[in-house]
């Protein structure tokens, strides 16, 4: 166990986050606010629970016929004049986009917030290829200017103060801006308005894709999703293939609970349903529409232990309630997707060994499962990941040794008693008034910050003789 908490990269990052006073304050305020908003929204919504059950069922049912739905989706998109690309890996998805940029002479692309494009690290690739990617979601715009990664699935710049944003804008855009969110928003609006109007390509993700109609659905609040899909001449949507849903009727079930789960809104400011490129007679809209369906590790989980994680709507509710996320924030996780679902998604995309430390970044409290709109049993899958990591001997040998000893004590009462006697003896130098305050070695991890009760003079089992009645 020492390996998991002494100097290992994740543990070190977590410790760093704990020492960041502003981050601690920001995280506390933001997560508490989101929790309250979500709670109020569902309290006011008696159908909520039934809708969550429905949403979960729709996701499962869709997976059971996934190939058919994807075919229907693709056929419809093509019928409407769009193009569908099939990317088995993130690398392929990136290459498809780069090739499109080359072929179509794209110099600048405006992006609406998309975790799928973060997942494949698209921006770096675009810049490298001489295409300027411009993030237009305010939070993403901020972190792009700051050369950082998002720290929360739906509020990417939650870790930045308004002072930091003002300094950032002043430095990167030239000028001196007040640390006032209204002012800063206006600045971003003006900067980005020009970009929307000049960009050659708009890149988005997709919250859902409706197979029956060939519709890609974007759920946003700022309006950038609409700009990006209407103004540039090419629209590219990148989507994990698990986001497909069968029908418009199904879509309504998800719309009813998604914004509530994410921000406590009944609906986000804009829900945009896009069917392919502009139609004849339309004054505006892209000439070309491309949907990139991406696998990148998802298919492997259809019959895998992480299948349920494929239901995820990327609402961020689990992050907000997670006691670990609330203390360390998103960057400490070190991967594209943070928080409880992030650990599972990382295992899905990069393999179980990539989360050998993160799989333990959870007290298994279950708050995530409680708030998940599609009731994903995250704690169960974390425990199964841990099982996988142990059976494959990925956990450190010192840990396996300790747990081997624990097992022995649990299987044999004589060993259990022996363990208690040994502990009673060993603790004598450290015990004061029934408490242990400073223990050496591994036990110091507890006593550094907490007292430990001393092992009792007589265990309950040893006292039973006097307690029992004939």
């Amino acid at each position: 166990m020492s390996e998991t908490s002494l100097g290992a990269p994740f543990a070190a990052r977590a410790r760093g986050a704990l020492k960041d006073a502003y981050l601690q304050e920001a995280l506390g305020i933001a997560t508490t606010k989101f929790i309250g908003l979500r709670r109020e929204s569902f309290e006011d919504f008696p159908q909520g629970d039934a809708l969550r059950d429905r949403a979960r069922a729709i996701k499962e049912a869709t997976l059971q016929q996934l190939d058919r739905h994807l075919e229907r989706l693709a056929d419809n998109i093509e019928r409407l004049g769009g193009r569908v690309h099939w990317a088995a890996t993130g690398d392929e998805a990136r290459d498809i986009i780069l090739r499109l940029c080359r072929d179509k002479g794209v110099r600048m692309a405006v992006k609406s917030k998309s975790m799928a494009t973060e997942e494949i690290e698209l921006n770096e690739a675009l810049e490298h290829a001489g295409v300027k990617p411009v993030e237009t979601d305010l939070g993403e715009y901020i972190i792009q200017l700051a050369h950082e990664k998002p720290s929360h699935i739906i509020a990417p710049a939650i870790h930045k103060t308004k002072g930091q944003v003002a300094d950032l804008f002043s430095k990167e855009l030239g000028g001196r801006f007040e640390a006032d969110p209204e002012v800063l928003t206006k600045v971003a609006r003006a900067e980005l308005r020009q970009k929307f109007l000049e960009a050659d390509m708009g890149i988005t993700g997709a919250n859902f894709a409706v197979a029956e109609t060939g519709t890609v659905v974007l759920v946003t609040n700022e309006g950038n999703g609409r700009m990006v899909t209407s103004l540039p001449r090419i629209h590219v949507a990148v989507m994990g293939m698990e986001k497909v849903i069968p029908s418009m009727t199904d879509l309504m079930v998800f719309l009813a609970i998604l914004a509530r789960s994410a921000t406590g809104q009944k609906l986000s400011s804009y829900t945009t349903l896009v069917r392919g490129p502009r139609q004849p007679g339309e004054m505006e809209g892209p000439e070309e529409f491309h949907l990139i369906l991406m696998d990148n590790g998802r298919t492997r989980q259809i019959a895998g232990t992480l299948r349920e994680a494929l239901y995820c709507l990327r609402c961020g509710a689990c992050l907000n309630v997670c006691p670990v996320y609330r203390q360390i924030g998103g960057h400490a996780y070190g991967h594209t997707y943070p928080g409880p679902i992030g650990i599972l998604l990382t295992a899905m995309l990069k393999g179980a060994p990539s989360v050998k430390e993160l799989a333990h970044a959870s007290s298994l409290c279950g708050a995530c499962k409680d708030v998940c709109p599609v009731r994903i049993d995250i704690p169960r899958m974390l425990v199964e990941l841990r099982d996988h990591l142990d059976t494959k001997k990925i956990a450190p040998w010192t840990e396996r040794l300790l747990f081997g000893m624990a097992r022995r004590m649990m299987m044999r009462p004589s060993w259990f008693r022996r363990g208690a006697s040994v502990a009673r003896l060993a603790q004598k130098p450290f015990a004061r008034a029934g408490r242990l305050r400073a223990l050496p070695l591994f036990f110091g991890k507890w006593t550094a910050t907490r007292d430990l009760p001393a092992v009792a003079e007589k265990t309950f089992s040893e006292r039973w003789q006097e307690l029992r009645r004939p």
Partner: protein
Amino acid sequence: MITCLGDMFFPEVGVAMVRLLRRLGVDVEFPPGQTCCGMPLFNSGYHADARAVAARTVKLFADAGHVVVPSGSCAWMVKAEYPGLLADDPALHAEARALAARTYELSQFLVEVLKVSGVGSTFSGTLTYHDSCHLLRGLGESRAPRTLLRSLEHGELVELPGSDECCGFGGSFSVRLPEVSTAILDKKLASVEATGADCLVACDAGCLMQMGGGLSRRGSRVRALHLAQVLAPEGPP
């Protein structure tokens, strides 16, 4: 079922529980040879080992009537996880399911089986209650403990803001990521102290170890007690 932490660190909780149950006319037995329910093994992913412990425990309690546990997480382990762990052996699986059906966390046993909403005990001072994760979310129980605490004469129950938030114990999590565990604990204890309560009550030994250990380290006057200790603080067992 005494639980491993109860046996080694909090025998007084077990004694209080026996006292309490006998006062309510219950015949208490203690099958010898108890060690642990195996949850630490299970949660850390040693499932084959956890399975072996589950099989042993099921046999140990084969003849018990109602099995009462002073710990939400251990009761949860038996009720929610044992059947699945033993699914490969039809006979053991059936026994596990039977055991699950007759296993109760203490407050649930009192309120649902014995149908008592008060035990006629006195307590002077204010109390505040922490909802342990496995009792709250695993077993869906938040009312029984509060019902029992409210029945105390002279005692006043103050709601703990964020009572449903984890205390940071999480078993081995508390030593794998001790700084994070402590940060979570500090937040919890700040809420506890802000209530002004004299006593913090919980139904789980792990939570009590964590929260009690934190309170004692900071020299707080708040005492961390198990529900059983509050309901049956003294007298012959």
